[in-house]
């Protein structure tokens, strides 16, 4: 059962993730460069080089969920999944249900197209229409119906409900607020649950309340930076591919692009959540306690120069939160088996250069030398 679930659901999701990582990296880095060059007002500074960088980054980030959904569907049913998969992602962004919508929708449309492709009884004449006409029409209809009538309202409603809960909560003590914000942001690192918290926080900035935004910037750095550092400190708990992801997570984390930690979180959420959620809660609590304030929404460590109460508040909160994340990751994650299947073996067989023509030579080549091959097992 577990194996089956892995093949049917987890593998496609991992494929989707592997395709969206470069998109996130490009978008996040462009946004950060823009913010560094253009300062806090970069989003309004139309026509400047910094603005163009920032705009490119923002547009790239809007591709993340579509790419994720499309390649999940692609992993399930191959090419026919791409077009409806992208639509699923775009609608998820439209309905503000983000990653969750992209993943669920991508899986649903992937299997829908797979079933249509394999099970629909078609005459020979109609079969040729399948890839160009029938699959796109049915796939498109399925996406529109399922996203607009099922996933969108259900997940969207859930989000609205949680948002209102959160809004009521902010009358409580500042520290609890910071912890709740941290927990939300630790669940999906920039996804829809995060957005529940950050939407409220960003709204407060408009009202001139900058404390929660300061906490948000610090929290946004913590989990991803912690995950990145953990891949270096607890090497044995990560595969080679994850360690590579970890290095970029460090950079992305410092820039407050929390999504950089997602590949590792989504691969094994139950063992990563304790670290990201608790680490973030610690950061949130400390930042709120010291009343760290920020007038900017993005930038991570690079936003520190424009923030208030950076020392000790912001620095301490990020440092302690990150430390908690790293420690919890080391405790919760399992050691990766030593059979790390990252071996590419090229064997060099020996060719006998025999000028005497004889069919015996051909036979002996095959048994001449031992062939050193490796079989990779997952």
């Amino acid at each position: 059962m577990k194996e089956k679930l892995k093949a049917l659901v987890v593998q496609p999701v991992l494929t989707g993730i592997s395709y969206f990582i470069p998109v996130i990296c490009m978008g996040g880095l462009l946004q950060s460069f823009g913010t560094i060059l253009g300062g806090t007002g970069v989003a309004e500074a139309t026509g400047t080089f910094a603005y163009y960088l920032y705009q490119g980054g923002t547009l790239t980030m809007s591709m993340v969920v579509p790419v994720l959904a499309a390649y999940i569907a692609y992993a399930i049913c191959d090419r026919p999944g791409l077009a409806p998969g992208f639509l699923v992602g775009l609608l998820s962004v439209e309905y503000k249900i983000g990653f969750v919508g992209g993943i669920l929708g991508g899986i649903a449309v992937g299997y829908f197209c797979k079933i249509v492709k394999e099970k629909l009884p078609l005459s020979k004449d109609l079969a040729s229409l399948l890839p160009m006409l029938i699959l796109p029409i049915l796939g498109g209809l399925f996406v529109v119906l399922s996203m607009c009538y099922v996933l969108g309202p259900v997940l969207g409603g859930l989000q609205t409900y949680l948002s209102s809960l959160f809004a009521e909560m902010q009358s409580g003590s500042r520290i609890v607020f910071g912890m709740v914000l941290g927990a939300l942001m630790g669940v999906d690192l920039g996804g829809p649950v995060t957005k529940i918290g950050t939407t409220v926080v960003n709204g407060l900035v408009a009202d001139g309340i900058l404390g929660p935004e300061g906490a948000k910037v610090c929290i946004g750095v913590t989990a991803t930076l912690g995950i990145g550092l953990s891949t270096i400190i607890s090497k044995k708990k990560y595969t080679a591919a994850q360690r590579a992801t970890g290095k970029s997570a460090i950079i992305l984390g410092c820039c407050q692009i929390a999504e950089g930690g997602l590949p590792i979180l989504l691969a094994d959420p139950l063992r990563v959540w304790p670290a990201t959620i608790l680490g973030n809660m610690v950061t949130g609590a400390i930042a709120m306690y010291f009343n760290v304030q920020s007038p900017v929404m993005m930038g991570g460590l690079f936003a520190f120069p424009v923030m208030k109460n950076v020392w000790p508040g912001a620095i301490l909160s990020v440092a302690v939160g990150t430390l908690v994340t790293v420690i919890l990751l080391a405790l919760c994650r399992k050691t990766v088996s030593q059979k790390d299947p990252i071996v590419t073996q090229e064997s060099t067989p020996v060719v006998q250069s025999n000028m005497q023509t004889s069919s015996v030579v051909a036979e002996t080549i095959d048994t001449s030398d031992d062939l050193d091959i490796h079989i990779e097992f997952e």
Binding site: V351, S353, M355, I365
Partner: protein
């Protein structure tokens, strides 16, 4: 459409004498150039040499299929040479080479023609085709095999 369309009559040479692989390839490149199939001898020859450097192009029973991909190739084509005496040439079974098919592959272009070059390679892996090659004497007979 079949393989014959790729093989210009001027690019076939029967029972010629060469000692060295390089000489054969030089002569065949020149043929392709004169037939208007490639428009740069040096560049194409380099492309062929690059392929030779990757791994042996000799197949089995004395047949070799050197090939080159380059923008200077106008269209997919084959040149064929049957040598009077087999010469030394790195091959799968270690035997010397008597039949040389030089494939000129355009960088982009008609997939069906490139597919045909691939079919030639597949065909030459069949023993029957190889034996037939050893029996022929004229260009006409070569066309018949293909």
């Amino acid at each position: 459409m079949d393989l014959k369309e790729l093989l210009d009559e001027s690019c076939i040479a029967m029972d010629v004498s060469f000692q060295q692989k390089a000489e054969v390839l030089d002569a065949m490149t020149k043929n392709l150039y004169e037939a208007g199939i490639i428009n740069d001898k040096t560049q194409f020859r380099k492309a062929v040499e690059y392929r030779e450097s990757l791994s042996e192009t000799g197949l089995e029973d004395g047949i070799a299929i050197p090939h080159g991909v380059h923008a200077c190739v106008n269209r997919a084509a084959i040149s064929y040479v049957r040598l009077k005496e087999p010469i030394k040439w790195e091959s799968i079974d270690g035997k010397p080479i008597q039949h040389v098919f030089l494939l000129a592959i355009p960088e982009s272009g008609d997939k069906t023609h490139i597919r045909m070059l691939s079919q030639l390679a597949t065909m030459l892996m069949q023993k029957k085709a190889r034996e037939a090659l050893n029996r022929i004497h004229t260009r006409q007979e070569l066309y018949e095999i293909l």
